[in-house]
Symmetry: D2
Subunit: 341 residues, 4 copies
């Protein structure tokens, strides 16, 4: 259902024209003449109507504005499914009482380093290993990742530690190779509206970790999830990781408000990546604790044994000892909010 607001002085002819167009699309109308404006209520299920179709009415003579009443996302909405979606990955379940922590370096660098990090984070309670083999980098002159070699290192690390692997897919042409090695496929911030990539992962059944775009609204994040869900893959984990604002004291502005807002709007699990959100290792711990307090279902944290030598994002990585301390505090906070880690 939508409301069409007409301009002051709209003519009967103009109204009839709008009503006829609506009729052509199968809608009934209800006209309300108010003291200052006349409104047309569009009756019927406008949720099948695209934003574009509706907005085309905005160019019609006599029309001032359209108010959409129905949310544009459906499958990801709590209206559609009230119960939390639980996503199984091996023996783990994401979205339930247990909070999961995905930890590891930004980029996979070599077997020795990754394995060392994986063992450390596992000991502290992390349940997934992360690491990029394909890296989206702002500069063409930056390290672009090891590619399939990196994926093999991740798989080997999983074999040794039992930790399932979360890693990023950047290009639909890499889907087969990623499917071979990943347990959870990450869609990065810069690809949140790479619709072809979303359609591609929507056609497979691996869990998808979908990161919010730098300037994506919460509604757009849910619309991006809708792309995946509408293709049949309902294993989507949403990830808040910082938005772009005017503030430059932090790399991005981690928007923790998104956590309770998303938990209200959608049944999908919501996790937080404070490392990218703030971009400085000494701000990661407070924001990780705040994420759990705000109701997040999980965390994604960059950990590196030697941040000074990291090939990427060293400045936002925790050392294993700091990570261990943080995990203890996170456990205590999880308990306060009725969860466990």
């Amino acid at each position: 259902m939508d409301i069409i607001v007409l301009r002051p002085g709209v003519t009967d002819k103009e109204i009839r024209h709008v009503v006829k167009k609506l009729g052509n699309k199968g809608f009934k109308v209800q006209i309300s003449k108010g003291t200052e404006r006349t409104l047309i209520g569009v009756i019927g299920d406008t949720s099948k109507v695209t934003e574009e179709e509706i907005s085309a009415f905005e160019v019609m003579s006599g029309v001032e504005k359209i108010h959409r009443i129905i949310k544009p996302f459906k499958l990801s909405s709590r209206d559609f499914q009230a119960k939390n979606t639980l996503i199984k990955v091996g023996k783990h379940t994401i979205g339930g009482k247990k909070i999961h922590v995905i930890a590891g370096p930004c980029a996979v660098e070599n077997m020795t380093t990754l394995l060392k990090i994986a063992k450390e984070v596992k000991k502290s309670g992390a349940t997934f290993i992360r690491g990029g083999a394909f890296k989206p980098r702002t500069s063409p002159y930056s390290f672009q990742g090891l590619g399939e070699k990196g994926l093999k290192i991740l798989a080997k690390t999983r074999e040794e530690t039992g930790l399932p692997v979360v890693t990023e897919l950047m290009d639909p042409r890499d889907i087969d190779v990623i499917m071979k090695y990943a347990d959870v496929i990450q869609i990065g911030t810069r690809n949140m509206q790479n619709f072809r990539l979303l359609q591609e992962v929507g056609s497979h059944d691996k869990p998808i970790l979908l990161k919010r775009g730098l300037s994506a609204t919460i509604k757009e994040l849910l619309m991006a999830a809708e792309y995946i869900l509408s293709r049949g893959n309902n294993k989507v984990i949403l990830c808040e990781r910082g938005i772009r604002t005017f503030e430059t004291a932090t790399r991005n502005t981690l928007d923790l408000n998104a956590v309770p807002v998303l938990k209200k709007l959608t049944h999908l699990p919501v996790i937080v990546d404070p490392s990218h959100g703030v971009g400085k290792w000494d701000l990661v711990a407070p924001m990780a604790k705040a994420s759990i307090a705000a109701g997040a279902d999980g965390l994604m944290i960059e950990v590196h044994t030697n941040p000074e030598e990291a090939l990427s994002d060293g400045e936002q990585s925790l050392k294993p000892a700091k990570f261990k301390t943080l995990m203890k505090e996170l456990k205590a906070i999880a308990k306060v909010v009725g969860r466990e880690i």
Copy 2:
């Protein structure tokens, strides 16, 4: 100390001109000729130099850019004072181990309602009562507050409950009347850069609760505090209350990142107002918990016994029962992060 970056192809004459101007202001220089740019290092205490004086160098022929090395705020900086500032209000101390919760309605409406709310929030553990007598409203047609009558109601409520009063000053002409009734003077978001108001409260010795402007950077918040400190009043409490971003799912984007960033940069206490930050009562509790987890020294929360009838901001006020539940959870989280409420 500052660095002046010169354009490629800068002439010796241009360099001499810049150096001479710096000399006139009492600075020595150190020139470094790099492969791509020549730099002038400005030696001496440039912290006394204003942004304007330095930026005037940017118009000089041959100059490309100025990099300022020193932070523009001084008295509020941890470099200036490493130890946390403790602010005494009656028997309470803000900025120490104990976290304080300031609660109450957005606007003072009448004696009965305010007293009822005050008693409720005190029972749950709040240590200050808040309520606006002078209200900054976006619309001239909105309720503008009771003025001095409202202040009297606040004072009476303090008498009955023992809770010190936090209330807003909007106009330098109201300073005397506010001084008579308030224990902590609030400078609101829209007045964070009302420099005359800042100078006015800087000349008195009441504690000031300085709210971050909607589009103020953390640096600008500290510069606003500097206005107050530089006049001799060092009792400034900073308050994060949401910034303006592109996201419209929440009233503002509560920027909890500001909490650990501020705690690192300044010795002043930092509190959070989640009610204005999110603008919806059901998001207040998770963000209040997140604030404490992130390291805040206090909270400011809107509570109303009858939000439906509130004259202002009803949609973001908690009812006393919800506030009570929240306070219990806050106590548990405070303990995890080594604090108490």
Copy 3:
């Protein structure tokens, strides 16, 4: 007229409660049961209802959201007055066919400099002199203006050149002194929502130049104008001067889109200040030309004979020779869009 959207599963009892509350406020309702949501249309003139009163309905059980149909500003709206407001200042009229250029230094420094600048800009076609006597500065350590001495210099300059004076009021306590010397009173960016100051200038009859706040929406700018208009002063000139965004290549993001949007929404004149908008003198000329092409009624441009020595904003000031060249181009563009300078 407003639309109240009810939650799915709303009960009849909840609906009756909302309807009763509306009845208490004197409104009739029209209920539409759609396939996915039930709506309540609020009939009657809700424009007298404040945002707060309406938003209080959002906390009511069963209510999901309120859509406001009527714009919250009235007196400043084209619905209220279709014809452009013409503002007379001496022999000049702002808001008509002629485009006015207000030029001068950021701050008044001394008689000699101001007079020299005034003569230069007048020769090039500027019709008003600008210059701050009271300066809002981010840092308490920056030059704060000459105060009344500066106003006297402005008045003297007017006497010599015939150019009317535009200067800023920062504090309601300075209203009398400003009234004595200014022809147009400027309300600065940081005071756009200093509601007491708006009320103060609304009670006098001098023309007001109201600058858009750094993070103010166009709607909020019109609400700020409404404060002045609702007190009886309808001589308000709106000024776009750059908003705060994530982009740091320019000091602010001059939002020229605001020009055609405002011209559509309001009958008040709209001018642009490209100097503050971009913050670099070499970007001022292209943006000044763009402003006129976009439909602005005037410009405010910083000009200084010696930007290197300016006490404020030297980096964004044009030298008189550049200003002269710019004025020639502006005249040609004005002609293309059916205006004159």
Copy 4:
């Protein structure tokens, strides 16, 4: 050359450690002990050093901050090439004195409509036809474009009218089919940081129209161009099309400031798309005029013979008659700024 700012109280051991690391990377240093901070100047060509390598220094003990002196983009910079890049497309040259206008519908719908629009816009002076065959849509339920069928319609239209074709590539897997039909390949806003797509088009030699991302800084736009240039394709046309800000009165905030800023920083041509920038047809004309006044090298404008029936973006399309009037005004403004259309 970069500057490393050390913390107050940094030890000699910490300094030696940083200096050693720099030495390992082949850099010499120059240490300046100031009154408040010690700085390390890094001597040598740091432009080959990635942001990541340098930022890794930020985690080192004793380091406070890094100031980068050199711009991170090279090939696209005016430092690298002072003269404007001229891009030949058939008989046209983009980036020279002549301003080009690319016009057409948002999406290709059918042969009849496109041809009709193409003939109309050509008559008014447009020199390129635009139309999407692959459409990035926020909702999976919106029209996604005709695919290759759309490309064939574009090619047929070029045959009939002689207008070269600008159309979007969304997926690296479509590169071959796009190469067959397009004269200029558009990279859309949501793909500005789809680095694989950038590398793909960098390996071909068709001109690329690179649209600025919704939340991309000007620097990031140039870094995205760098991806294409660094692969050997130097025919990149930059396009400003609106950024995301807090303002909701327009679909996006068209950032015309970017035009003079880019013309200063880069030798690549800069065009503007006011249709997407503002999202309302009645704001397109003023912003198109403003774009030319600000110094743009071209425009991209949505035109549709029947906006009410457009399958996409009808609300922001001009009808041919309005486009014709606009073109006349644009010609007059172009002349004022020393250009022609």
